[in-house]
Symmetry: C2
Subunit: 191 residues, 2 copies
């Protein structure tokens, strides 16, 4: 009977592996380390049941790597520590609703990446404007043109961040409704 159990575990493992691998790829596309993505995936599938060494063993990665990946995931706000009474180990729990997880990730990205880089973009535009203002003659025309191009991109960047904010301001219900509406509004633009 042990044979039957092993076989079943192997099946389960293969099912999990496929999902974990795809999630790892998505993470890569999303600018997140593949290992971090895989740890997130395995936590999602076994939420609240896994400790660090089990994760490391499951994914064939080092204990240190698993620990660091979890630290990242907690910093992104998509994984939490869980303690079980009478058990010394720390278990980890992943957010179970993908939309909530997505929302959290976008909010965090906005804070730590998008806003800072947009500020620098606006600084660059401001500098270009200032320089153009004090220039004379042909210089002035040339620098004004340069400023115009930079400003155009900065405006786009501003609109982009507004879009992110609109996304964040909506709860999932309204959001997905709005998107579905938008999707139906026009024929698909598939290639």
């Amino acid at each position: 009977m042990a044979g039957r159990g092993d076989e079943a575990n192997e099946t389960r493992r293969e099912v999990e592996d496929r999902f974990i691998e795809v999630w790892g790829e998505i993470s890569g596309l999303w600018g997140v380390n593949k290992s971090v993505g895989r740890v997130h995936a395995v936590l999602y599938l076994h939420s609240g049941e896994l400790d660090i060494d089990t994760i490391a063993e499951r994914l064939q990665i080092s204990h240190g790597n698993a620990s660091t990946s979890i630290r990242d995931l907690m910093a992104w706000g998509v994984v939490r520590r869980v303690h079980k009474p009478g058990d010394r180990k720390t278990y980890f729990e992943a957010e179970q609703d993908p939309w909530t997880w997505f929302h959290t990730t976008i909010r965090e990205r906005r804070r730590r990446e998008i806003v800072p880089v947009m500020e620098r973009m606006h600084e660059a535009a401001g500098f270009a404007e200032g320089v153009a203002k004090v220039a004379k003659g042909g210089e002035k025309t040339e620098l004004a043109e340069l400023h115009k191009r930079i400003e155009k991109f900065a405006d786009f960047a501003h609109e982009f961040i507004d879009l992110i904010d609109a996304f964040l301001a909506m709860g999932h219900g309204r959001m997905s409704k709005a998107f579905r509406m938008m999707a139906k509004l026009l024929p698909r633009g598939r290639e």
Copy 2:
């Protein structure tokens, strides 16, 4: 008077550098090589005026790197070759409207990255479903639960791709109007 000219060129160079550097960072965040982003930036600022060696010299990178970066940008559909009559060199021209550029990039990403990975995600969900269907007893329950979690994520993925499609189906005018509407709809969710 040569002194004055050099000084002016230096100013211009500094203005450009700030913009180019920020664009490089944005590219990094966006999952595109920084060098590719910098080449794109310098092309945007001097659209149609630059050949490969000038770009390489301007950014202090090798000729080969500049060439490869431009190939990438052309594959993304945001840069085109331009020939000038009576000139042996090939010049390159960047799309001047950031929204058009953004739209093109999203479409390309959808095609080459998002769709393939989503297909694999649905395959994984299908496999999980099949396996759960043939299992017996306790196995069945366990695998059904596993399938449910994978399916939940696959559904999210599907909604996500619908959102991308809605975005692509709209022209910039309607899109930016819709976003502005959405942005005004609710108070800002800034941190």
